[in-house]
């Protein structure tokens, strides 16, 4: 009997063990890869971060050895690095939990005009025997910009708060990230005298009809004419209000669904979505000073500091307050006057010269100074604003409704600088899920001959917008579209969006791939 008992027990146990844990769920191998095959510095750059990405978080600490070879460049004379190198190698430390590492490359000396200097970096070994090279095991650093014919760009939007707007230049495969709360308004550098608002910070502005003295009004002041405004009540039903004082107007100024507005009487407190000169909330600035009225500016919303739950976003924090603003011009420079709403004694003033190298010159009303935001107008094609706001037609399931709208993951193209772009739609799915395929080439097959010159759009910056991804229902990048772009130098590119989250699922990590045609 004992024997049967023993056999029976062994049988059962062995069955349980053999059918036990799935062995496919181990961690993947730890591999190291350069995040780009080429890195180039512009003339203005002295430092550049060179990123190494890991296939997964490191579970043990160690050291990566990177070999460097200068081409026409000497370590110590032409360039240096951090961590510091010597004898042709750099030791990069890795701590437990790290997802990547960076080498800071510092240019010590520019190349002589007409010559090139480059440094080749290559992964050269590990002190952990089970670490290995990933897909990109070498990278070339150029001291001068190099033309890129294709690339994969991970725009540095900054995660679920989308704190950055990112300017991307395709021809040099470079990006410039700027926090979107560094500026509220920007002055146009072209022939016309125009003021733009920062749509990525939800800035809004309302003109005070007939008021040209910035110190003459406070929140209690009556408006010259009562304004009839459309809004929404607490139950999201359309409603109208009559606004008679500055304070009442301020209440409906911030961008949100119930933001005040009246399209019929041309009362719109944001720039238009398309970003045309005629569509700004500020009227054209006149060279005749007393034709320039005072505006109330809502300074938008703070960037939240606490990350959102994985998979969602948190982009609009507390309202940043209001200022009175008046802008004057002599045609070559702008003068901006500004003060707190209830200030009657003093106002601040700053003068901003027009600079033809840039589309816009940004200004911080909270810091009282000009800010570098956009790269030179010929040096960017796309602007990943992340957050984007305007007063216009939105879709809330029912009939389209006009409201103050805020979007995320937004992408604009450089219409003021002359970049053209259009969308190629490969298929359409109707409400019942039926798919209609269009007679257009796939992204992969699309080539120079397929470009339709007449399709490029130069008067609407928001062609890409946020429609490249869907966040309701199936949250994913839409695979029904790609884009064709023509930069100011006449280069043609095709663009395909590939991701809007990182691999952990955090929002605010857009990625796209592009190729010159």
């Amino acid at each position: 009997m004992k024997k049967y008992l023993f056999l029976s027990a062994i049988m059962s146990l062995s069955v349980m063990v053999s059918c036990g844990d799935d062995d496919g769920e181990d961690l993947i191998d730890f591999t190291v890869s350069f995040s780009s095959e080429t890195v180039s510095l512009s003339e203005a750059d002295t430092d550049k971060e060179i990123s190494l990405t890991f296939s997964r978080a490191a579970t043990e600490s160690g050291t990566i050895t990177v070999a460097y070879t200068g081409n026409n460049a000497e370590y110590g004379t032409d360039f240096s690095t951090l961590p510091t190198g010597g004898n042709g190698t750099i030791a990069v430390p890795v701590a437990v939990g790290d997802l990547g590492a960076t080498i800071t490359f510092t240019k010590l000396q520019d190349p002589i005009e007409g010559t090139t200097k480059t440094v080749s970096l290559a992964l050269n070994g590990y002190d952990q025997t089970d670490w290995s090279n990933g897909i990109t095991s070498s990278s070339t650093v150029s001291f001068t910009p190099i033309a890129a014919i294709s690339g994969v760009i991970d725009a540095e939007q900054g995660g679920s708060n989308q704190p950055n707007q990112v300017y991307v230049d395709l021809s040099s495969n470079t990006q410039t990230a700027v926090r979107r709360d560094t500026w509220e308004i920007a002055f146009y550098n072209g022939a016309e005298n125009r003021v733009f608002l920062n749509p990525s910070l939800l800035v809004a502005a309302a003109e005070l009809e007939g008021i040209t003295d910035i110190l003459s009004i406070t929140e209690d002041s009556d408006l010259a004419n009562a304004l009839k405004m459309n809004t929404f009540d607490q139950a999201f039903q359309p409603a109208t209000v009559t606004v008679t004082t500055v304070g009442e107007l301020v209440a409906g100024l911030p961008v949100a669904y119930p933001q005040y507005g009246n399209v019929a009487t041309n009362l719109v407190f944001t720039d238009n979505r398309e970003g045309t000169l005629e569509g700004t909330a500020f009227a054209a600035v006149s060279t005749t000073a007393d034709q320039n009225n005072v505006y109330i500016v809502s300074l938008g919303n703070e960037i939240p500091t606490e990350s959102a739950e994985l998979g969602s976003i948190s982009t609009t924090g507390d309202q940043r307050g209001f200022l009175k603003v008046r802008v004057l011009t002599d045609g070559n420079s702008y003068t901006v006057q500004y003060a707190d709403l209830n200030e009657t004694e003093n106002f601040s003033e700053a003068t901003i010269e027009k600079n033809d190298s840039f589309n816009l010159s940004a200004f911080s009303l909270t810091e009282g100074q000009s800010v570098n935001v956009e790269p030179e107008k010929g040096s960017w094609d796309l602007n990943f604003t992340g957050v984007f706001s305007f007063y216009g037609v939105g879709n809330f399931g029912g009939p389209p409704t006009i409201a103050g709208l805020t979007f995320s993951d937004y992408v604009l193209h450089n219409t003021l600088g002359g970049t053209g772009l259009y969308q190629v739609t490969t298929y359409e799915r109707d409400g019942d899920g039926n798919i209609t395929n269009f007679d257009v080439p796939s992204y992969t097959d699309f080539n120079r001959d397929d470009v339709e010159e007449s399709a490029f759009i130069y008067n609407d910056r928001a062609v890409i917008g946020s429609g490249w991804r869907s966040v309701f229902g199936v949250a994913a990048v839409r695979d029904d579209r790609y884009f064709v772009l023509k930069d100011m130098d006449g280069n043609y590119y095709k663009l395909l969006f590939t991701a809007f989250t990182n691999s952990e699922g955090e929002r605010g990590f857009p990625q796209f791939t592009y190729e010159r045609l």
Binding site: S12, I28, D29, F34, T498
Partner: protein, 715 residues
């Protein structure tokens, strides 16, 4: 619905039974009568059983469990006339719908003690998590039983009785079982199908003491249906095409249950302790693939998969015995905990491994202290009057991050306490007529005090026919999320209502049993029942307003009425057993703007046919359960609408045989009619206007099972 149709269906039921009886071979056999009596009486002998005196108790015995090779309660309840199992493929949960009431209204007990769930006790139980390997039998009460079994026992009570001791004169019993099942047509030994292993040992230490230890593993690899599994990605020209085909239709889960019990007799007193540890891992594969590219343009597809790990620990203790004469006491104590851990991780599809673990937290937790006790037969000398007095104490501590809202940071542990006292009396007016009044006083830490009552009456016309009428309160307490939910951010304002009152109402149950004898030998038991539920103050979602803006919350503003008729017939003849039951159930509830839906009727039919070959220890069974088309009120895009779910029929069959005394083999098929989804227009729309879909999932297709059980008895 008109009376003619009701009568027609009742008539059909009778006719069905009588056709079967006419086919009866005329052979003498006295076993069936005994078997039937045994089934009827079994409830009364055991201390943890449901009260047979006050309720009609339906019993699924060992045979019934084995016939369907039931590993969990969800495998068994497919064949109950008034029960529909509602599976949720996404969460892996299956809950009970009884008379069209959802699982919130059905109480599930183990040995008379309510079962812990993720965020509550007793009701809304995931019945796939109730392991039956140590179950002796399952008892089912249909109808409100709140006076004896507490709040939420509105539609019915399901009680699972644990096996104890060893049958026969042995010291040791060892059982080992292997069960392999297909899931639809899917099966492989590694990653498809369902694989179950059981092992248990019982020992009769002395005539007074016995114990059992066992383990059961249930590995369900998921139901793929048209989905392509974990390692699927559609790459075209190195670009990920999101066709949503990754993953599985039903998510895979693996359950491990360890159980043990000790049964001891000390004089006339009986002690029982049960320990169970349940561990379940449910894996959810993301159907959307993140198609990020490597710097060189090659794809690096990943998906964020999730895993729920549920742990339940059950400690149940019961002591019972005589106080004096026929007066008995019965006290149960229980400590149970259940926790649900939520983890998400990034799965790298091409490298087939995990890239990172992202979220890892406990989402739901409940910690339950429970005691119930009663003294019965307090006046044993009186033939006219009997009395039972009892108490029930529950202390539930826990939190629910899911109910609190996905983005809520305000997850607070809450405590719910109940102090209940109850009494039932027997008034035996004469030999034929008895009255059973009952009363329970509830004291709940949230809603305060409440009283509920019941009044049953039985009348025995003849030896073979009995009429039972029950009038009772239908009493359901607000659940954890209705009370404590909180999800407030820029776009949401959803809050529970701490001032909710219980749903209260009244039920009437009428039950008429008659045992016919056909040809002097073969008993036909017919039961005709009718019921009516009128639930007031039903809790429902409402839109209101508070400091944070438009508020979504709950209030006691709804109602629900149900009316139904059931006819059951069971007959035993020679080696045959046959049963056929039909029911008509209807619901009336509120639509938009104060209008009523009117009574929406549905028809169900259940039929059982068993045949045994005693000489070769073999039995055959065929079980059929037809769920008629149901009309339901649901939350559509334009508020409450009436939609429908089509009819479907569930057919199970099996053959069971025993050889060499020790080997027991069951070969069978579940869901022979291959039900997967059923067309439905009553699926609520999701948030943000997402449409609810046009079909409900009920099964995973025609599946086959083979169970080998080896039993070894020795001294």
């Amino acid at each position: 619905m008109n009376l003619n149709r009701v009568l027609g269906i009742i008539f059909t039921g009778f006719l069905g039974a009588s056709i079967l009886s006419q086919e009866t071979p005329m052979e003498n056999d006295s076993i069936p009568m005994e078997r039937l009596q045994e089934v009827i009486l079994i409830g009364e002998s055991q201390v943890m059983s449901l009260s047979k005196k006050l309720f009609n108790v339906d019993v699924i015995d060992q045979e019934g469990i084995k016939r369907l090779a039931g590993n969990t309660l969800a495998d068994i309840l497919t064949q109950n006339l008034n029960i529909t199992i509602l599976p949720d493929a996404a969460t892996g949960r299956s809950t009970i719908s009884m008379f069209g009431f959802d699982g919130e209204y059905v109480k599930v007990l183990i040995d008379g003690i309510p079962v812990a769930s993720d965020n509550g006790i007793g009701n809304n139980i995931d019945i796939t998590q109730i392991n039956l390997e140590d179950a002796e039998r399952i008892e089912i009460i249909e109808g409100a039983a709140g006076v004896l079994y507490g709040e939420n026992a509105v539609a019915g009570v399901i009680n699972i009785i644990t096996k104890r001791g060893i049958e026969g004169d042995y010291k040791w019993k060892i059982q080992s079982a292997l069960q392999e099942e297909t899931v639809g047509s899917e099966f492989s030994f590694s990653d498809q199908g369902r694989h179950i292993q059981n092992f248990n040992v019982s020992n009769q230490v002395s005539p007074a003491i016995s114990y059992t230890l066992g383990v059961s593993r249930n590995d369900f690899a998921g139901f793929y249906n048209e989905f392509q599994g974990r390692d699927y990605v559609n790459l075209q020209d190195n670009i990920v095409i999101n066709d949503s085909l990754r993953g599985t239709e039903w998510n895979p889960k693996e359950q491990l249950t360890f159980f043990g019990n000790v049964h001891a007799k000390m004089g006339k007193h009986s002690l029982f302790y049960k320990l169970q540890h349940f561990d379940e891992t449910l894996t959810i594969y993301d159907r959307i693939i993140n198609g990020r590219l490597n710097p060189d343009g090659t794809p690096n597809p990943t998906a964020t998969d999730a895993r729920f790990n549920t742990n339940r620990l059950v400690n149940n203790f019961n002591i019972s015995g005589p106080i004096r004469g026929l007066t008995r006491y019965n006290v149960s104590l229980s400590y149970q905990t259940q926790e649900r851990n939520y983890q998400t991780f990034t799965y790298n599809i091409l490298q087939q491994g995990i890239e990172s673990f992202n979220i890892d937290r406990i989402d739901q937790s409940s910690d339950i202290l429970y005691s119930r006790g009663f003294v019965s037969n307090i006046m044993p000398k009186s033939e006219f009057f009997g009395l039972l007095l009892g108490y029930e104490l529950t202390r539930q501590k826990g939190f629910d991050a899911i109910a609190a809202g996905a983005q809520s940071t305000n997850v607070v542990e809450e405590t719910l306490e109940n102090y209940d006292f109850f009494a039932t009396a027997d008034l035996n007016l004469n030999d034929q007529w008895s009255l059973f009044p009952g009363l329970r006083s509830v004291n709940n830490s949230q809603f305060g005090q409440a009283l509920f009552w019941s009044l049953s009456s039985t009348y025995n016309f003849l030896e073979d026919s009995k009429l039972k009428i029950t009038l009772a309160s239908a009493f359901k307490a607000p659940n954890f999320s209705q009370l404590f939910q909180e999800f407030v951010d820029a776009n949401h304002n959803v809050k529970g209502n701490r001032n909710l009152q219980p749903e209260d109402g009244i039920t009437i149950f009428l039950n008429y049993d008659h045992i016919f004898k056909i040809g002097d030998k073969w008993p036909l038991k017919s039961t005709l029942s009718s019921f009516y539920f009128d639930i007031d103050n039903k809790i429902t979602g409402i839109v209101s307003e508070d400091d944070d803006g438009i508020l979504f919350t709950f209030d006691n503003v709804d109602f629900e009425e149900k009316l139904g008729f059931t006819l059951n017939n069971k007959i035993d003849f020679n080696n045959w057993q046959a049963g056929i039951g039909t029911s008509l159930i209807s619901t009336n509830t509120a639509l938009e703007d104060g209008a009523d839906s009117g009574y929406l009727w549905s028809f169900n039919l259940q039929s059982t046919l068993l045949y045994s070959f005693p000489r070769i220890n073999t039995s055959l069974s065929a079980l059929l359960n037809h769920r008629g088309r149901t009309l339901n009120v649901f939350e559509g895009n334009n508020g409450r609408e009436i939609g429908e779910t089509d009819a479907f029929t569930w057919l199970d069959a099996s053959i069971r045989t025993t050889f060499f005394k020790n080997f027991d083999v069951t070969l069978g098929a579940r869901n022979l009619l291959d039900i997967v989804t059923v067309n439905a227009t009553d699926i609520p729309a999701g948030a943000h206007g997402a449409s609810g879909g046009d079909a409900r999932l009920f099964g995973n297709g025609r599946s086959y099972f083979l169970k080998l059980l080896y039993t070894l008895n020795f001294n």
